[in-house]
């Protein structure tokens, strides 16, 4: 090992011990008010965030929200119109991609079709004039890591989608850059393979202690892989937090509707006699009067279904979809439809019922779409005993199961 970088690089590829501190610092990424304008309107509008070494960060958002552009600006494939990008202690805003010390996995994999798998993987090492012997050594190790040893002489066209994906991963792993950028790497795979690859990528990342910025529009990938999710819309960051925070405390109605499958139900609120009521369903106050003109959000699994004779908001079941482990029922409340998730099988189409939810499960959003933490929605639970009085071992789920008469 002649140079310093070699020593620690090899150490982080082989092993599980914590890499040397200087490597950790080299993989810190900091964006300061980064903007990209093509025409008049900005595609990315002054966003700032800071990625700590070893983090798996997801850039999530619908198509056209600027997440890929952000990633490409970090990679250097797109030049920032404004703002600064730092990697480690260097300002890389104007550096060419090759000098930024990062690797990238593309949605299309960007494999060289005329080169064998082995040549594809060592392509970058050849560009960087790594000695042949070392190339072979690193290739053998990485091929082992991503399970491609038997396919090294094949051409990309002879591989399956999942294998091509692994070649692309191998190519970025072999570079031994501590930062890896991924641009929707799984969107060309079928659903089953995608869930396998999700786990593989996550395992690889934690094993090699890579810093990963991962772009996706798939909230399942975001929730299952990310240490941290940055949700974007219209070139701006809507919410930046752990998957748990995004799910349980969405910062806006958009964040609420983007995360979760099926997404959170959003019902417009209007002023009623005794507080805010659901629009076109003016009987039952569900939140303080100040919440009127905003929206009420409840996750499908937090809604409890009760018989029509019980208390709660009156609703009618439009249809039910049986998914195996649970059933998604579509309900109509006033002029609005909402979805609820019920454990097990329920054939309840056409029945009248009432619904309710605990105060803790109801999210309130203002007229501007932002979360309102100053207000608390009313509980629509039937005089539920306080949490402390619950018999030990009985879960909320059990309590919630008032079965309607199922027409089985």
């Amino acid at each position: 090992m002649s140079c310093k970088c070699n020593t620690f690089n090899t150490s982080w590829i082989n092993n599980n011990q914590q890499p040397v501190m200087s490597v950790m610092d080299q993989s810190r990424i900091r964006l300061e008010r980064v903007t990209k304008r093509w025409d008049a309107s900005p595609a990315v509008d002054g966003i700032s965030f800071d990625v700590t070494p070893g983090q798996f960060v997801i850039l999530l958002g619908p198509s056209g929200c600027g997440k890929s552009t952000t990633l490409r600006m970090i990679a250097g494939l797109e030049e920032a119109s404004d703002g600064r990008i730092h990697i480690g202690d260097r300002d890389v805003t104007r550096l060419p991609p090759g000098d930024r010390g990062l690797s990238m996995v593309f949605q299309s994999y960007a494999l060289f079709p005329h080169l064998s798998v082995a040549d594809n993987i060592v392509f970058g090492l050849r560009s960087r004039k790594v000695p042949k012997a070392e190339q072979r050594e690193r290739l053998a190790k990485v091929a082992e890591l991503v399970d491609l040893t038997d396919h090294l002489n094949r051409k990309p066209a002879q591989l399956s989608g999942g294998q091509r994906q692994r070649v692309a991963l191998a190519r970025s792993v072999i570079s031994e850059h501590p930062i890896c950028l991924m641009d929707e790497p799984l969107s060309n795979l079928d659903a089953r393979l995608r869930s396998d690859m999700r786990r593989e990528i996550k395992a690889l990342q934690s094993r090699l202690n890579m810093t990963v910025i991962y772009v996706t529009h798939d909230q399942v990938e975001a929730m299952s892989m990310g240490d941290r999710v940055i949700l974007m819309q219209h070139g701006q960051i809507v919410q930046d937090g752990t998957p748990d925070e995004l799910y349980n405390r969405p910062a806006s109605a958009f964040a609420a509707s983007f995360i979760g499958s099926p997404a959170m139900n959003l019902l417009p609120l209007v002023a009623g006699e005794h507080g805010a009521v659901i629009d076109s369903e003016s009987d039952m106050p569900v939140a303080p009067l100040e919440a009127a003109n905003g929206q009420l959000g409840i996750r499908p699994e937090d809604i409890e279904l009760r018989p029509a004779s019980a208390s709660g908001v009156p609703a009618k079941v439009l249809s039910d979809e049986y998914l195996g482990a649970d059933t998604i029922a579509h309900l109509v409340v006033g002029r609005h439809t909402l979805r609820i998730r019920l454990r097990g099988r329920h054939a309840i189409t056409g029945q009248h019922c009432r619904i309710g939810w605990p105060a803790s499960a109801a999210h309130l959003f203002g007229a501007d779409g932002l979360r309102r933490d100053d207000l608390t929605a009313y509980s629509l639970m039937p005089t539920a005993p306080p949490e402390s009085e619950l018999p030990i071992g009985s879960s909320q789920a059990e309590l919630r199961h008032f079965p309607l008469q199922s027409q089985r």
Partner: protein, 294 residues
Amino acid sequence: MTLTAHGKLQLYGALLLLPAAVLLAAFAYLPTIMTVINSLFLPGFRGEPAEFVGVENYQVLFDDPTFWKVARNNLLYALGTIPTSIALALGMALFVNGKLPGRGFVRMAYFTPTILPMIAAANIWMFFYAPQIGLFNSLLEALGFSGVNWLGNPSVALGSVIVMSVWKEAGFFMIFYLAALQSIPPELKEAADLEGTGRWSFFWRVTFPLLMPTTLFVLINALINAVRVVDHLFILTKGGPNNATNLLLYYVYENAFSFFDRTTAATITVVILLVLAVVATLKFTILDRRTHYQ
């Protein structure tokens, strides 16, 4: 007799093929066969029947120094035009594939020589090459050099014809290269950039190999054109001076229609066909193995 469904389908297919088959047979296969037969006979004079002479016509041809001179000219012409026009075409395609202002205009400008009929192009170059009033000689004179007799000097004339052919062909081949370049996904360049791959290195390691199918196609076309296209000789030199610019096909034309020696013309034609077939086969077998088709 009733046809089965399968038989009907066969007949239907055969009928669909018939027009093309008739045309090809009448205008390609039959003339080829007639040419081969002609090359084996000596025509009879005053109504006597043609005499079968076997390969004697070929022996006579191979003893003819003019034939060898023309063949050598054609070889030089091919060596002069093919690599140059392909390299130029590739260079132009790379240039107009990049981001540059007025790209559409430059592309069109490069392609213009292709649109011109060969005869018209030759007439333009006739003006460039004219000894007294020509563009090149006027420019040389302005710079203080004495003019060159571009088409009249036997040692320069072939070179002049080659330059004109390259000018005419490069734009045509550029279109193929441009199309091929645009089918290369831009992510490949980005992936290479991220690894700090230089432009030159990327060209030789990625772009050029991916263009191989196009190069092969262009190579075969250029080869055929080197033997096939002689229109400009009619305007520029008529094969002269002293056969210095005579090419095989023009020599065939001269033999057939100036000297009325149809037998020699047929013999040369067969030789040309054989040589082209051998070269094309070699190219495909050797280059095909190194060519990646997507």
